[in-house]
Structures are given as C-alpha cells and as structure tokens.
Symmetry: C2
C-alpha cells in the first residue's frame, strides 16, 4: 500500500532525519527546541505510530540501538533513499498544491445564524480581541528570534501564521461591524428569527434560516 501522507508529523520526522540519524524521543525534543511544535502537532503516541508507518514503507530504517547508562534501549532511525525522495516530493506537493481543509471556525461561521445576532456579534468581538493578543505575542516571538541571530528563513512559517491570523481578525471585525450596522444581507430575517429569544436560551421551534 502507498504511504498516505496524512499526518505532517511524518514530514517533520523525515526532515529531521535528513539532517542526522535520531531516536524518536530526540526527534520530539529537537522539534520542541526549534519551536516546530507550532506548525506540526506533536504528541508521543502519534510520534511512535508515525515512525512505525514510515518504517513499514521503507522510508526510514533502524540504524541501531543505543543504551546509555542504564536507560531503556533506544532505537535510532535513519533516512533511506526512498525516504529522501519522499521528503522532497511531499514537500513539493505541500507547497505547490493547496488542499481543502476544514478549520473549525469555518464550521462555526456556517451555523452562526443559529445564535441570536447580538450574541453572535459579541462573541466575534471577543474572538477579535483574543486574536489581537495572539498577534502581539507572535510579533514578540519573531523579533526575539531575530535578535537571537536566527535568519528570517528559520522562522518563515511564523510570518505566514501572522498573515493568516491578521486576515482572520480583520474578517471577524468586518463581520461584527457589518452585523452591528445591519448591512448584512438577510439581517432582518435573522433578527426576526430570534426576536423571541431571551439571553441564555435559544428558541426551540423549528424554522430555518436557509432556503
């Protein structure tokens, strides 16, 4: 069976092994050190399953086992030629081809009409503020890394993150403002639909706000 390229943790592992042989735990710590946890989800369970999967597809191979002091044995892995090719190709695919993703917020937005307008607006404003705070945090991290002498290329993914977070904040603010101003198409309908609601509970009848 073909390797499915699901979890990007697999990509990160290949990337690490491209530099040098490692045992899983070392991969985890290295990813931590480099703040790569921010762009790939890291957790031990997944890490070991992912390495197992890579092994099964001959993308990595066991280089040997180490025993240091009396610690449990650690298997050290290395990249195979197929693995190197896979890394390169996967990376190309990831960069060149946008893939459909399903951010949770989008699912929420799709159903936002189920909340009363006032509440929805307030929640959006809360989100915008949280995003503002995150943006400040991100910028701080970035300048800190720059001052540590790391080249921009080493934290370029933060640049991307920043851009996307900013875009989301702007959109959320736009939405809240438009809703507050009553400029949204279907707004009257929305208001009427929730006319009978009191704070804290939603209506329980069975009308729809879609065609």
């Amino acid at each position: 069976m073909k390797y499915r390229r699901t979890n990007t943790l697999g990509l990160a592992v290949l990337g690490l092994l491209w530099e040098r042989d490692m045992h899983p735990y070392e991969m985890a710590s290295t990813l931590r050190e480099r703040h790569q946890e921010a762009s790939v989800k890291l957790n031990y369970g997944s890490l070991y399953t992912v390495v197992e999967a890579l092994l099964k597809h001959d993308l990595v191979h066991a280089v040997g086992t180490l025993r240091e002091g009396n610690r449990p044995e650690r298997t050290v892995y290395g990249l195979t030629d197929t693995g190197r090719a896979e890394l390169h190709d996967w990376l190309r695919e990831l960069i060149a081809e946008p893939t459909k993703e399903y951010p949770r917020f989008e699912a929420g937005v799709a159903l936002i009409g189920l909340l009363p307008p006032d509440e929805a607006i307030e929640l959006c404003e809360r989100r915008a503020e949280t995003l503002d705070a995150q943006l400040v945090g991100l910028r701080e991290v970035m300048t800190a890394l720059g001052e540590q002498g790391l080249p921009q290329l080493a934290w370029i993914e933060l640049e991307y993150r920043l851009a996307m977070a900013r875009a989301e904040r702007d959109w959320v603010r736009w939405f809240a403002a438009a809703a507050r101003a009553g400029e949204l198409g279907g707004q009257e309908f929305w208001r009427d639909l929730h006319a009978g609601d009191r704070a804290g509970n939603v209506r329980t009848t069975k009308e729809d706000d879609r065609g």
Copy 2:
C-alpha cells in the same frame, strides 16, 4: 465521559436536527444540498460514528424507525434538550475562542528551506495561481447564490473562506517575490546550501539551515 467536540460534523448534525428530525442519510443529502460539505468534512463512515457518539452522550435520541417500500430500515433521530444546549454552547465556543490548528501548508513552509530556492519560488508561484483560480470560482458561486435569492447570511462562511484564501495567496506571492529579489533574511545561506544541487535531486549531505 464528556463529549469531546472533535469532529465538527457532530455540530452540523446537531444543527440539522435543531430544524427537524432526520435519519443519517438524509442529513448527508441535506448537507450536500446546502453546500455545507464545503465547511464540514462529510463522509459516511464518520457520519454514522458521529451519530453513534451523540447518541451515547444523550445529545440525540432515536425518534423511531421508518420503512418505506422495501428499503432497509432507517432510524430517525431527534435532538434532546441536552443536545440543544450542547449545540448552543459548542457554537459559542467555536466562534469566541480561536483554537490552534495545523494547516498542512504551514508545515510545508516550515521546511521550505530544504528545497532549492529556485524550485521553492516556482512552486509558490504555482500555488498562487491555483489560489487565484479558486478565488474566481468562489466569487462565481457566491454571486450565483445571491442571484438565487439566498441571503448573504446563508453563505457567510464562503465570505470567510474567500478572505482567508485571498490572504494566503497574497502571502505566497509576497514570499515568492521577496525570495526572487533576495530580500529574505538568510537568503545567501539558503542559496549556498543548495549551490551543488542539480534539478530533480536534493543534496544528501548533512548540514542544517537552522541554528
């Protein structure tokens, strides 16, 4: 155990049942009809597991079974009071609190230094073009829906999607341009690192582009 709010398909199901009782297959077709497949990932396996989970947590209950003609029996589900509360609360959470997500592209960007600069730039430009095309498509869908008489609120999530796709395209173009112009921090290093590469294969030695 508490319901874990993992798959947003669960939210969509609750949203549908808020309107009226349904059997799973009908949920699927309704989601399709409303283009909600675009904001929540729909597939049969997951649908039935999700409904099962909702059932276990008393968020929905079996209202009865239908048999139409000689078709297999279909279980019809309805929302419980707890389910209605859950829908409302989940939605509030989803809107108000940004959650850390891991878009695949970000993982790719984090490792983009592993590709030779020229190739990376070219791939980015390819992505930007694909995104352009998707933006055009999105706008077409939106005007079409508007002309069908649907209020903006019924497809507000597309508005969000559009904003995010646009932001991504802009970022990718910025990156490609900056890289082409050599304005990125660490650019010389990047170039040197891949100086020996020939088109089609990546270097195989063991240097790193990070600290």
